[in-house]
Subunit: 322 residues, 2 copies
């Protein structure tokens, strides 16, 4: 049986209040009592029970982080950053990988309701009734979930625009766009818009394959893309697996990159795990994670926060452009 605070009090010959005071420091406790308590704690190998502390203080010191999946370059990196950042605030991270199941996403709302966690960061590709979020401290990534849920995102529109402009600078005349449409309204949709705008501004024709994502279908999409538009000299690929499939499909279709075909991928987080060194838009993952945690902390502490926070992506030049 683990020692409790009253065991310590008894052993040290003081009241439990005094033990609590030395435990939490700062409070004034006479030196001799202090010593006695410390000795007793050591002797009994006392560890404060955080279940009791939490109930008393109505606070867990835990946030939930919900992602669709861990085994994905963007999310994996995001998780690392969030965990490190939360730790700085004295919070732990409860991980929930929904594996794209809406039920698992809903369960986490219950968890907040039951006070298992103090707040949550949501990265979701599902729709949820927005009222469900309203009473809880939640921060979202790339998605506007409800009026009351602040969100963090990157400059999808501007970054895509810059990437397309870069392709044009490098001599591309016929640029295609391949992507998988998110199932839900999301900032990611701005990427296609930026492409369209760029094409219009330069008087260039649009070549788009952008369909609703069914995980694993990217290969087929990519094949279709290069069949439909055989003579492209530039490609913008939105998203990591799309980019990878597009790259393979292009090579297989006999294109030589970057000589005949230049390619830029949005989300370069995967290049570190792969052998490829693609020219890509790199999302500011660490900054997004830091903002998400910081803003969540503010929400937990009842402050009002910015509804939308945008961080700037950067264009990394690899060897898939001239």
């Amino acid at each position: 049986m683990a020692a409790t605070i009253s065991d310590v009090a008894k052993c040290a010959g003081v009241g439990i209040g005094t033990v609590s005071r030395v435990l939490n420091g700062g409070k004034s406790v006479k030196d001799d009592k202090q010593q006695a308590v410390m000795r007793a704690m050591r002797e009994l190998n006392y560890k404060p029970n955080s279940m009791a502390k939490r109930l008393r203080e109505q606070k867990n010191g835990v946030i939930a982080l919900m992602v669709p999946v861990v085994n994905h370059p963007f999310f994996a990196q995001f998780i690392d950053c969030v965990d490190q950042e939360a730790d700085k605030f004295g919070y732990s991270t409860l991980l929930v990988a929904s594996q794209q199941h809406a039920e698992r996403e809903n369960k986490i709302l219950d968890r907040i309701g039951r006070r298992e966690v103090d707040g949550a960061i949501f990265v979701t590709h599902h729709n949820h009734a927005s009222e469900r979020f309203d009473s809880y401290p939640i921060v979202s990534v790339d998605r506007h979930l409800s009026e009351n849920v602040p969100y963090i995102t990157s400059d999808n529109y501007e970054a895509t625009k810059r990437a397309i402009e870069y392709l044009i600078e490098r001599g591309c005349k016929k640029i295609g766009y391949i992507g998988t449409k998110p199932l839900v309204e999301s900032e990611v949709l701005l990427r296609e818009k930026a492409y369209r705008d760029a094409m219009r501004e330069h008087g260039m024709t649009e070549y788009i394959v952008n369909e609703v994502a069914v995980h694993g279908d990217e290969t087929k999409l990519a094949d279709k893309f290069f069949e439909s538009f055989a003579d492209l000299d530039g490609v913008f690929a939105s998203g990591y697996s799309t980019a990878q499939c597009a790259y393979k499909a292009a090579v297989q279709a006999g294109k030589s990159i970057p000589e005949n075909l230049q390619m830029i991928a949005y989300d370069g987080s995967f290049t570190q795990w792969s052998g490829l060194s693609m020219t890509c838009v790199q999302q500011p993952i660490e900054q997004m994670a830091k903002s998400a945690v910081k803003i969540l902390m503010e929400r937990i502490n009842g402050k009002t926060v910015a509804a939308r926070t945008v961080h700037e992506s950067s264009l990394i030049i690899g060897n898939t452009t001239k």
Copy 2:
């Protein structure tokens, strides 16, 4: 202010015991009271407070999962599997990415001591005083941490042996071994031993570069490897980043793979994220995760468990062997 169980009891005109009974089901409650309670719960939008429940039941329903880092193909996949498996047992996963810092690893032992989590799965590359583990429900991966800590691993020795034999079958006469030595005693060391044994058994010479891992140094190691042993026709690379660096270095050194040089990598989990399709030993990540969770659950429930559990790896044939 959130409604509590006594608010519900009052509103429904019953005792709190009765509310608790309908809450937890199974118990016999007369139908009219049942209805009244349910109505009251809905009316007050009641959510049971899990802090109180946990304190009362002395159980969190949370396990900690400690890994060196999330953003790594093996760990990312392992995390996904553990999380899903824990969920089946009604447990949540508290993630702790130590980022290789011993202090963060120690903090988690404190957490268990303070009863923040009910148990933990440890994937660590640090040494810890083994007594520290003895009082807690802990399961380790690939490491023997203490007499009282069961561990899960894969058949490092046999799988490496099979891989080397395969290289020999495919005609390799001069096979090298490149790896990064773990900082601590670990099952991973068996890979080098298997290589050495295979070489001896076949009367072949050993060509080994296996140094202590400093993250990021793999590139230098790989260059050194191919400088020292220029005319190898087979390579066994232990570990994901080693394999990747070795592959790049080989290509850069003008080798054509698999024509002049065949290569097998231990830990094929990264091939999905990379464009490469390497011949590799694939660790049974999902099974390891399942066993880890299952055994941890048994330990939490006070059962005695096997000290060592081994799962079998498989050799995946890619295009880096003939």
